[in-house]
Structures are given as C-alpha cells and as structure tokens.
Amino acid sequence: MIQRANCSEILIAFDTSTEAIALGAAFDVDRASLGACAADFPALDEAIIHTDSIAAKRCANTRLLPSVDEMASAKGIAREDVVAIVCGRGPGSFTGVRIGVATAKGAATGLGCALYGVPTLDAIAWEAWLAGYRGALGVVGDALRKEVYPVRYDLREEVAVRLNPDMVDKPAAASARWAAEFAARGDAIMLAGDGLAKFLDTFEGAFAEAGAKCEVLPEERWAVTGRGLLMAYYEMKRRGALGGGHPQELQPVYTRLSDAEENEKIRLETTGAPMPGVLVGNPEFDVRASGDGKLHPSEAANLPTNADAFAASSSADIPSSGVGEQAQLHYRRGGIARDAAPEATELGLRKPLILAIETSCDETAAAIIDSERTMIADLVATQVDFHARFGGVVPEIASRKHTEAIVGVVDETMDRAGEALGLNRSLDFSELDAIAVTQGPGLVGALVVGLAFAKGLSWATKLPLIGVNHLEGHIYANRIANPAIEPPMVVSLVSGGHTMLVHVKDWGDYEILGQTLDDAVGEAFDKVAKALGLGYPGGPVISRLAAKGNPDAIDFPRAMLHSHDFRFSLSGLKTAVMTYIKDELAAGRELNMPNIAASFQRAVVDVQVAKALAAVEETDVDEFCLGGGVAANPELRKSLAEAIGAHGVHVTLPELSACTDNAGMIAAVAIDLWRKGEFLDLTADSLPNMEL
C-alpha cells in the first residue's frame, strides 16, 4: 500500500513534445509501494491523482498552463505541496519541447521546487505497460521531415526496459531493421507512437515483406500520458537516476543530426559499421559506447536521464526489493527569509517591483525595476558567469539558446537585486509585484521560450503577468536614458527588423508616421556586410570601415528622399550596392571597401536625417529620440543630433548599451502597464508580428 507519510508531497507532470498535451499529477511515493506488477494496480490508482492527454495541435503555449491550473483547482492541489515538476524532454517537435521545458523551468523556479526531465517516448512505453501489455515494444515518435524517432522497449512483467537511445531515422530504415530482427526471432513486436499516424503503412509493409509479425496497439495507446510520465519518474527515482533537480539542469533532447554527423553516419553504414542507425556523436551513444560514463562538461546536465536507460537493463531484476530507495531529497530553492519584516517595509516604499524577461532575438535578458523606474538589476546572458553559478555546467550561450540560459539569467538577476537592495540574500519572488515579458515582435522560436517561462513563473507565484511590445521597449529606453523627457515627441526606431518614425503623443499613445516598405536599415547593413564578406552583424563592421572611407566617393541612391512622406525604402539602395560591386569586379577593379561602406552608410543616414527632420517639423514637437539596435551607429547619432539639434529640438540618444535589446526597457514599459492594470492571462501566446 502507499506510504501515506508522503501524501502531501505532490508531483505535477506534463509534456508538449507531440501534438497532444500530456498532463498528470501524483503523490511522490516510492516505486516499491506501488507494487511490482499489474496485480498491484489499486495502489497505483491511489498514487495517481490525475492523468490526461489533450489534443492540442500547435497550441501548447496557449493551452498547457490553463490545463495545469484547471487540474490544480479541480484536484485541490496547493502550490506549496508540489515537491517537483516532471517534464517530458522530447524528442518531438522542437517548438513543442521548448514550450514544455521552458514552462516547467518557470513553474519550478517560481515554486522553488525540483524539476526532473523524463524521456518522452518512455512515457508511451510505460502507458502500454500500465495497460497490461508485455513483450517487445517499438515506439515510433514523429520527427517531422518524413523521419521518426524509433525506440525499442522490453515490457517485462515488473518493468519497462529501454533498449536503445533516442535517435532519428528514416521510417523505411527503422521498420526494416525491426522487421529483420523479428523475422529472425519469430515472435511479434507491438507498435505504438504518434509517428504511426503517418508511417503505419511503412512499418506494416516492412513487417509483411520480411515475414515478421507486429501488433499495432490501439490508437489511444500511441499518446504520451500523464501517468506514463509519472511512471517513468518513479522508475528513475527508484534507480537514483533523477539528477539534482535544479531547474537549470533540464535540457531538451535534440537528436537531429547535423550534416557532418549525417555524412559520417552514411560513411560508417556504407563501410559496414556494426550498428546501423545508432547516432554518431550523440552523448547518449557515447555513454553506451565508452561504458565509462564520461561526458563533456556541457553534456553533464544530460547524464542522469540519458544514462538511466542503460542502467535499466542491468538493474531490472530488482524492481521492488527496496534497494537504493533512500528518501529522495528534492531540490529546494534556498535563501528565502520569510520573517524579514523590517526589510519588507523598506521594500514596500519601492513597490511595485517588476521582473522583466526579454528573449525576442539573440539575447536572453532579465531586469528588475522599481516604482521610480530605478533599475535594480539589469542583465543579459553574456554577462552571467555560468561556470561560477553552476560549478562546471556551462550552457552554450549562443543565439536562440534561451532555454539553456533563462534560469541562470533570472536567478542571477534575483541575486543581484537582493544585493542592490541591501538584503544580504537573493530577492524572493514573493517580494515582486508582477512578471513582465516581451510578447513580440521577434523570432517565434525565441519569443516562445521567454513567454512560456514567464507564464510558468506567473502561475507558480500567482503574480500578474504583463506582456510588453518590444518596440515600445525601445521607445522607453529613451525614458530610462533621460527621465525628464515627456511626450509629445518623435522617435526614430531603427533596428534589424524595423525602420519607422513614430509620433509619441503620450506614453502608450503612438502614431506610426511611416515605415520601411521593404528592408529594415539593420537588415540593409547586414546584407551589404555579407556581400562585402564582412560577417554578421553588419552594423558595427560597416561603421568601423566607413570611418576610414570617403562618404562622397560613390553616389548611391537616396530612395524616397523627396517622397514627401515618412516611408522608407532600402531595397533599391541594397540592389545598387550589389550592382556596383558586381560591375567593379567585372571591370577587374579592386573594391575600395572603406569607400563603399562610407558611401552606403552616408546614403542611409541622409535619408534618415531628412525624414526625421521633416517629421519633427510636421508634428511640431520639441523632443526627438532614437531607438533600436542601429541607434548605436555613431554616424547616425552624430548627424541626427546636429541636424535636429540645429532646429532647437531637444535630442535624446540612449547609451549604446540601452539601444540594443535589453530587459530594462521592457521593465520600464511594464511599470506603466501595471499601473493601468493591463495583464495577460495564462492563454497568452507570443506575437512574432506584433505591431506598435
């Protein structure tokens, strides 16, 4: 029977790797008390509080947390009783996995509880095991691109054992491999998994051709379920394979091979490699192949969950003996001082305190702002010493690697805020008043991570959630740079994705006077830089090169200079530069790079200045500001300041660091939205094309 002592310790489990949301809740009991086999199901029924699989094609972000919240209310699950979140790590749809993992990280961070990852396909195997199926099982996950994630299991009387690591393969190759194996064995393999929705014919065909037997499980057994995830968790807990449980540790399973690895695999296969289909260069395979469990530091976070599959094979004989069943001590977020009344009073004067998160493009950033718009902490991922924070686990900080960086950035921001406020400890989420996040515009894959994390955090802490427009953030960067400025004013927003003139009538009241009809300024810089072989991002390289060139050397077109409106067109200029380069090379002349850069930049700046001047005149404002990444361009800053300043208009140019993406500007907008009471609910989705 279940050990009731554990019964106030609750697990919440979910997975969004497939086109369904798997959801469950259970008591954190020990596997032994569940019994070894199907005969002990009543005990399991008592442990599992809820299990479900909800169809949610491409809408995990809008439906996951509302479903979790509904479950918690319906089942009377109090947040403080949750000791751990169990999250499916994939493989599956990239965006689906990232939404699940980021939501789980946000929720676990907010609850201050542990976070454990379980392999998604294991949940399908356990669901079949729970339904009473025994014998050989093949789980076929849908990998898109006409590929599948095939994993073999052995469903024994007392345990489900995984036989190969997560991998990606062609349906024809995977089915042929299994068919050959079972033709030789003579017995049947059961098949399940969402990949069968597309490739059932391929698998059945391969088995028929090989004269092998397969039994396709009913479709309701193909899905990931809450209780399947929870069983996978119980089994990993029994084996002591859960890992440390810090929310930073969990990373999605990425199995797709890079081209180099793919070529290596083909080479190995055609030269008679012993294990066709097994990944080359995959850490899971490395563990198995080397047998010593040695991993590169950056893969250390993956060790427990990857290695456990193989541990299962060797320890399957002791499923309920109690060996290794020491009480699991879950991770708990530390440093919370709940009796710090004097501090709280002091903090009260600075309220509201808002945490803002920004992941719209390349930077993972977080900031905390107070009611006076004082930036208490303001961080971007590249500033965080991850090595010091996590003792050797160094997540790769590259563009769009937000999933790996976000917990570290938020933790560090809370630490620094505590320090800045003189608390001698990290700021606690209970001392905040809201969570803000960039909702758009930006890259969809990047935005969803920040939003899912913020929503998880908001649900866990019950703090209101604020969605901020990234472009409004750039406008507000000026307010941080110069708190004295007041609308009405004209703001020129120039970045890699935007080129527009905005009439700011009041904070929150904007009129777009005009924008680019084609390329953004930053984009034109990038494209010209690429054509000149200068690399990405193009802005800084071009402006450095331009400083050494003659801006009047080449007469590039100033598109729409005399259009008498505020629209821009950069496409023609870009084409003119390309044509010039082509013609020069065709004529056998060497390119004068500094002159091309300087003349191109001059053409851009001339139009920017002329239109900005016209906008200031037409709107009759006394204030002009600049925003967006291109606002860091020295030539643009200088020319705008001179030309517009000469008209007696006050010009604000934010510091260079405030021009590029940061969370401080998001926090600044959030303070105003908080005062207006504009909040998001848990169904909010990212808006990649959000307009001002």
């Binding site: 691109r145 006409k146 769009r400 969809v444 494209k527």
Partner: protein
C-alpha cells in the same frame, strides 16, 4: 519554363496570378540574388490571396505569417540570415511546413536538403536594372502542376 518581366509591377502581377493556383500545403521556393525581386513576387502572391497589409522582407524575423481569405494561411520565409541548417529547427521551419499553410520561401536554395519533396521553384535572374527572367521548375507532381498552370495563365493573358 521561362517568364520575362520588364518591371517590378510585372513581377508583382506574376505573383498575383500564381496566388490563384495556390492551395494549403503548397510550397513555393524563390531563388535569386539580392534585389532580384523575390519579395516583390511574394507581395503579388499575398495580394492575390487577399492580404493587403504591407509585405516586408522577413529577413530579420525569418518568418511572417498572414491569414488570408477563405481560411488559408500564408507563411513567408526568408532564410538569408541563417547560416546553419540546425537553425531551421530553432525557427520551427519543419513544424510550420507541415502545419497546412501556403509556404513561400525566399533563399530556400541555401538549404536544399531542408526542402520538401514537392514544390515550385522560381529562380529570378537580373538581366538589367529593370528586366528579370523567371525560371519555373516543378519539383514533384504538385510543383509541376503549379509551374504549368502559371505558365499557361501568363501565356493566355499575353
């Protein structure tokens, strides 16, 4: 099959004509140098699908999605800024490709192995400042049908 354009407006017209043939799940891959007119062609496709918001190049955002008349969805990709094929997973390229929308991919030829089995490829070459040649190539049965359909529609109009 070749089409000739003597002006941006003409390229946009080709796009409008192609839009009449496009159904959900169709994929159009646009190739050609910077300034060839890929975005103009897409502008025409969008207009033909009943989208009248400004179509700007999604180089920075990588993808822009538009709802069209009759429940169709247009996904406009620009893969110019991507360097590694793995980045396509980051931007959910494959997920969107199989989500049942009309897909237009600028610079799709940068990652040929990422393209589906069946699509219409349009390669635009710059002949002069204003003149362009558009080469239509059907990859797979649906791509072929689109290429032939567009070519005969343009021929019929002339």
């Amino acid at each position: 099959m070749m089409l000739r354009s003597d002006a941006i407006e003409r390229t946009i017209e080709f796009g409008r004509a192609l839009a009449k043939l496009l159904e959900n799940d169709d994929v159009v891959v646009l190739c050609g140098d910077l300034g060839a007119g890929k975005t103009h062609l897409t502008k025409g496709i969008a207009e033909g699908l009943g989208i009248f918001s400004d179509i700007t190049s999604p180089t920075f955002n990588i993808m822009r999605q538009y709802d069209c008349d009759g429940g169709k969805v247009l996904c406009h990709w620009d893969l110019y800024r991507l360097d590694e094929i793995e980045q396509l997973d980051d931007v959910d390229f494959y997920g969107m490709l199989e989500s049942g929308c009309i897909t237009v991919i600028e610079w799709g030829d940068r990652f040929p192995e990422a393209l589906p089995d069946d699509y219409l490829k349009i390669s635009i070459s710059l002949d002069s400042a204003t003149e362009r040649t558009l080469e239509l190539e059907g990859i797979g049965p649906r791509g072929l049908a689109l290429a032939q359909g567009l070519a005969s529609m343009i021929a019929g109009a002339e």
